[in-house]
């Protein structure tokens, strides 16, 4: 059920790497843990992030959770439409991207800590 063209983190973000671009969201497992999402706070374009940095927060009715950057790089796009209707994260977590980043360094080698769909499925069993 986890798309094979995405990579995953232990913090339950997904990342889709295309060339040096990385599109980031949270996984189906994460949205299920959170429950009904009501707020999403995202960074400004231009923000420099290191792998593991908090780049925003997501809030459900019952909890608030930080969002962690799966890669290092600069924020080049922010999904403002998603902050207007954050409940889309519950409905379509793997299509609901939050930010796009320009990856610094070597996208493949520096990010071999990311999990593939099979490994992530194991993690969330």
């Amino acid at each position: 059920m986890y798309p094979v063209d995405l990579k995953y983190t232990k913090d339950h973000e997904w990342v889709k790497i295309t060339g040096s671009d990385a599109r980031v969201g949270i996984t189906d497992y994460a949205q299920k843990q959170l429950g009904d999402v009501v707020y999403l706070e995202l960074p400004e374009v231009g923000r420099q992030l290191n792998k593991g940095d908090a780049f925003g927060t997501i809030e459900s009715v019952k909890a608030v959770s930080e969002l962690y950057s799966p890669v290092s790089g600069e924020v080049t796009e922010v999904n403002r439409a998603l902050t207007e209707r954050p409940e889309a994260v519950n409905a379509n977590p793997h299509e609901s991207w939050m930010i796009v980043m320009k990856i610094t360094g070597a996208p493949g080698i520096d990010n071999d800590d990311l999990l593939d769909a099979g490994q992530y499925t194991e993690l969330t069993k």
Binding site: G35, D36, V38, T57, E59, V61, V64, S65
Partner: protein
Amino acid sequence: MSQALTGSLKKTPLNARHRAAGARMVEYGGWDMPVEYSGIVDEHLAVRSRAGLFDVSHMGQIEIAGRDALAAVQHITTNDASRLAIGQAHYSALPTPEGTFVDDVLTYRLADDHYLLVVNAANIVKDFTWIVKHIAGMGDAAAVNTSSRYALIAVQGPVAREVLQPLTGISLGDIKYYWFTTGEVAGVRVTVSRTGYTGEDGYEIFVPPASAERVWDAVLAAGRPAGLVPAGLGARDTLRLEAAMRLFGNDIDETTTVLEADLGWTVGWKKAEFIGAEVLRRQKQEGVSRKIVGFEVLDRAIARHGYDVYVDGVKAGTVTSGTQTPYLKKAIGMAYLPIDRCAPGTAFEIDVRGRRVRAEVVPLPFYKRK
């Protein structure tokens, strides 16, 4: 986002039902409880428009009986139990000598000399110890912790009665608000009380633990066609907050007095004596320096339990309860504010993870059923 170990947690007689239904389980007051089934918003809206079915078997029961039971209950609770008829219940504080809360309870008069207190799950042992200590020497009155003898199932919402009525010979419409009666539901001998913690009309059913699944299954099957859904503690919390019902441990505790919590209506002022009477009478006469208020967040943010509250830039307290309400679709909450800042419309600020957001005092409750 880790799963808590559940080995040492207490389980209600309906635990297997929750797990089989795929509910998300959490630790609450030492119990392994369902926080949500289909989702907090879905369950909350179902209770407001149709009905929800809650397992609240974690709640505790303490019975006080004997010739002097009334005097004992009068001593340990704030409300005037002499006004209770047999078959009637009321809300009360279990006060400390400082007029603060050991707990908040529902007192049921079961018989002439027999009362039942329903207490919070996390406080059962504390309350029982407190009660035994404070009724000692009060004559013929004994307290018994009967928590393990009851499962408690709540059916709440506008269609609660029509769902429940075909399962029982009790004429549910004849049970007045905060009254109760005994009879059979789904062939099980139970006590049915017209009470709840959601702000909706509904019933709470005291069931022998061995028959809890039978009653649960029957209500669920009877209610499904009418839109009844099983609901968890998550929706119970957002529902009670919209109705401005206080939650012990959040809105009230050993540091907040009954009058600061704006629950003066639970005090039997004509009673001769009770624990905390002196402090509460003085506060009633002289006024309190702070009071609980309802608020709405004006900026886009949710204020949650424990967040700091600022009045004129000075820290004035903390948010006691706060959430985004599914029905009103606003960020609301409760907090204690200085008494001169409690009027509806008063502006103040809340620190939401380092950001100051604007809030405004609004009248309680946030939601009142029509």
